[in-house]
Symmetry: C2
């Protein structure tokens, strides 16, 4: 019944228990042609992923959503569990496993928290704990699922042109696509539908606008792109 020391607790069954359960979120967005991740300055001064402790009546995804709203003001963001990092030595404060989440936020989102800022997802600079490893896992995950699901809806929630979608896909995949082929293939996935509107005002021919058919996680049924050879 008594915590044996500062670093871990003990329950009534005699099992050692963690000192707490944490969540960390990899918040990804697109700025210009680059994939960016949100990092916050920690009390110790180092930078790290936004996160916090899970409450005793909370599901971890609720904690992640709560922290995300604090940093960005956004609700209803795409959120997916990446995995759990539970090496007992990962946090010098004690035995604190963390459940890592991947979040995707719309183009143009700015941090509401002054301690938070965008960094390039590649080369984010030094991060606390094992956060660099978590970020790397997030990059692989989102790139792998790009053409197979509607994860991009988190970054393109509103009506978008195929050029805007292409910029997002290119930033995430790290490659360039032929505009005509990209349009054909994205339409063929069946994940998007035309709104009937067009975006004028810019230079060139106005682009037709599209939206994702569903906000909820979904999978394409038509053509799929192969992933780049490993």
């Amino acid at each position: 019944m008594v915590a044996v020391n500062r670093w871990s607790a003990q329950n009534s069954e005699g099992y050692e228990a963690p000192a707490g359960l944490a969540v960390d979120a990899v918040v990804l967005g697109v700025r210009g042609a680059e994939l960016v991740a949100l990092v916050t300055r920690r009390p110790e001064g180092a930078c790290g992923l936004p996160g916090g402790f899970v409450g005793p009546a909370e599901r971890p995804e609720e904690t992640a959503a709560r922290k995300l709203e604090e940093k960005t003001g956004l609700r209803e963001v795409y959120l997916e569990q990446l995995g759990t990092f539970a090496d007992p030595r990962r946090d010098p404060r004690g035995w604190i496993p963390t459940v890592a989440y991947l979040a995707l936020v719309p183009v143009g989102t700015e941090p509401t928290d002054l301690e938070a800022s965008w960094r390039r997802a590649q080369d984010p600079g030094p991060l606390a704990f094992d956060h660099a490893e978590i970020l790397a896992l997030a990059r692989d995950r989102v790139a792998g699922k790009l053409w197979w699901s509607n994860v991009a809806v988190g970054i393109l929630p509103g009506p978008f042109s195929l050029s805007e979608a292409r910029a997002v896909y290119e930033a995430i995949a790290g490659t360039r696509y032929d505009p005509a082929t990209f349009a054909r293939d994205l339409r063929a996935t069946g994940l998007i539908e035309p709104t009937g509107e067009r975006r004028a005002g810019a230079t060139g021919r106005p682009a037709a606008l599209y939206r994702f058919r569903s906000w909820a996680p979904a999978w394409g049924a038509g053509r799929r792109k192969r992933v780049a050879g490993g």
Copy 2:
């Protein structure tokens, strides 16, 4: 410093802490033409996935490997994290998050623990807690990675014929493959290599034997199969 009740603890920082950290393993194998999962009888009488509590100086994958050896006698099995299930109400005993793992064991493996037995991965019967959900996630995961990695090495560790490999792949994917096309495609992944031996004694032309090039997780570089349309 004092656990507030039987169901959760509290650390020195004032944060509530879980009552313990658990692991559960989905142990998959192939018996005949079917994908099977290992289940154990729990003290309460219900059936569930093999699992246990993580020690304070242990990484969860070590706990999973330890429990797996208790149930099957196997060391060096393929082990991969599936995800974490941490709904505070998932376990009636208290706030106990569990990290779920996927393990693949060779064809012919028999449980060493009398309380453990094989069940069909589809239709395993009622399972305790959220273990049915965890098993479903494991089935999807292994089917999705089948053609993209050498996960099957966990089920086919020794020399095998292409027919034996095909039986395993068909059991996992739940489909049937053309023998000739299967042979061409599996060879084209670059994941396997011929041993030079042949398996005689059975009826028909003796089959050439193959082995996986590497035991460690690896990815194919050649042809890949598309996943079945969702």
